[in-house]
């Protein structure tokens, strides 16, 4: 097993407040890892650091690509995304006024080329490219049962489907790592069970690494092979679901208050 993403001594300060302090973590090829912790522990901040939405105060993030190790500190968000990191957002950020198909096509932008003259004067090659990527997008949507909603506007979809579309959209980028920020938030138990199956299927069929923030413990314990626990910005524990469930510090800080 090789390490895909390696994080060392990561720190983020907002003014005087330390949101993330000295976090060390790593993600391996083809595994499903969960990141848990109480509200305000810094989980989303950590996500934003890893995906380049915010810049770390210090520490290093390294990504192993086919061309070797690449430091991600300070790299632009879209470049990090194009290295193979897809994500979803805690408070769904679909392109609301666009169709389901367009949402997916947009995520594929970096994966194909269309010259300016080619597109504005509609060369045969343009039509071929369009046909091909549309086919790809529709196939992807089919896997997730969204083929009938292709021409719907994203804002008109039910909440659960919107969450699902967001996952499909990030998969369309052909990511190596997928960051899912509370995918089960606001879902009922039935929808959560559905989602659990979906995430497992994604991870298995697409052979990608998934890092998941989640509050729903049943989902986390079911899915994750490893768990990181974050509290007050620093790592409290790391281990398999069983280890975490038995970890005294975790129980005290996190599970304890729920039990």
């Amino acid at each position: 097993m090789t390490t895909l993403l390696n994080v060392e001594d990561l720190v983020k300060n907002f003014g005087g407040l330390t949101a993330v302090s000295d976090v060390d973590m790593h993600l391996n090829d083809d595994e499903l890892v969960a990141l848990i912790g109480p509200n305000g522990a810094g989980k989303t901040t950590l996500f934003n650091l890893l995906t380049g939405v915010i810049v770390p105060s210090s520490g290093s993030i390294t990504f192993r690509s086919n061309d070797g190790l690449i430091p991600l500190n300070g790299m632009k968000t879209y470049k990090i995304a194009n290295l193979g990191m897809g994500r979803t957002f805690q408070n769904i950020r679909l392109f609301k006024e666009l169709t389901v198909l367009d949402n997916v096509l947009i995520a594929m932008t970096a994966n194909y080329k269309e010259g300016f003259l080619q597109s504005v004067f509609r060369s045969p090659k343009f039509y071929k490219t369009e046909a091909r990527i549309r086919q790809d997008a529709i196939e992807l949507l089919k896997i997730f049962g969204l083929q009938d909603d292709v021409d719907q506007l994203a804002k008109n979809l039910p909440y659960g489907i919107q969450r699902r579309l967001e996952i499909v959209r990030s998969l369309a980028m052909k990511p190596k790592i997928l960051f899912l920020d509370e995918p089960a938030a606001g879902m009922n138990p039935e929808e959560t069970a559905d989602l659990t199956r979906l995430i497992r299927q994604v991870q298995r069929d697409f052979h990608i690494t998934v890092l998941l923030i989640e509050h729903d413990m049943s989902l986390v314990m079911n899915l994750a092979s490893r768990i990181y626990v974050l509290d007050h910005g620093s790592l409290l524990a790391e281990g398999t679901p069983t280890e975490i469930q038995q970890n005294d510090a975790v129980i005290k800080a996190y599970l304890g208050e729920e039990a």
Binding site: Y78, F95, R122
Partner: protein, 321 residues
Amino acid sequence: MILKANLKYNICWLILMVAGFYLMNALILVGVIDSFLENMVVTIGINIILAVGLNLVIGFAGQFSLGHAGFMAVGAYATAIMISKTPTAGAFYLSIIVGVIVAIIAALIVGFPTLRLRGDYLAIATMGAAEIIRIIINNLKITNGPSGMFNIPQFATWPVVYIMVCVTTIIIVNFIHSRGGRAALAVREDEIAAESMGINVFKWKLAAFVLGAATAAVAGSMQASYLQTIAPSNFNIMESIAILIIVVLGGVGSITGTFVAATILGVVDAALQNFGALRMVIYALVLILIMIFKPSGIMGSKELSFKRLFNRKNKKVGAKS
């Protein structure tokens, strides 16, 4: 299969364009369209070129630019200067290209720093940039300063303007429905999500802005050579606002709406020609009332689409069989 299906729609559009051309031609021959009406139609055409470009920037890329008249001025003066020196058709067409190139450079210089700003801040910065362009033209010798240029040879007859309207609209509409256009739409919808999907937000903002500026320059060239006289005051803030009004009235994000609004405003303007000072009062009232009763513009974000028309017909046929 895909090629063939698209060919059908493209032929429909082509027929529409050719029909419009011959209709106009016939009406002029029969004498229905006199020089006053021809002037109205050409003005509408130039406004369409301007407003379609601005709609790309505002309605599709979501960047509130108020500096469109500045880029129009660049094209107008490029053409005026070049064909006043060499009054040949060749120089005229070359001047359009020169105008477009200079406008692209100007748009890069303006857009590169200002497109980092958001919303109204961007609007006010682009407005300022366009004013700077106008003030520079106002103080140059080659542009004949504030009094402007006269007796510019007329190469931009109505057929030339008609063809330019078609060409610029095709370019912009095709851009919108391509990889770049979709990226621009993503930028409009949600910059953070777009960036996280691997889209270079700044690059596509700039691309839309530059393309809009390039078509504005074409409109400027048309205006200079059709009206045969231009002055820096033709390209002030009020001109940028006039273009913005067409875009919003038609519907932000609807090219069809832009055509409809430019036509309505052009006709209203011509019809009120004899009302003197009252003309602008009526115009202002009409504007306020349309906005209050149709806040998202005449067309909203809807478009005329042959594809949809055909699909609707097919569905009906399908339902019968």
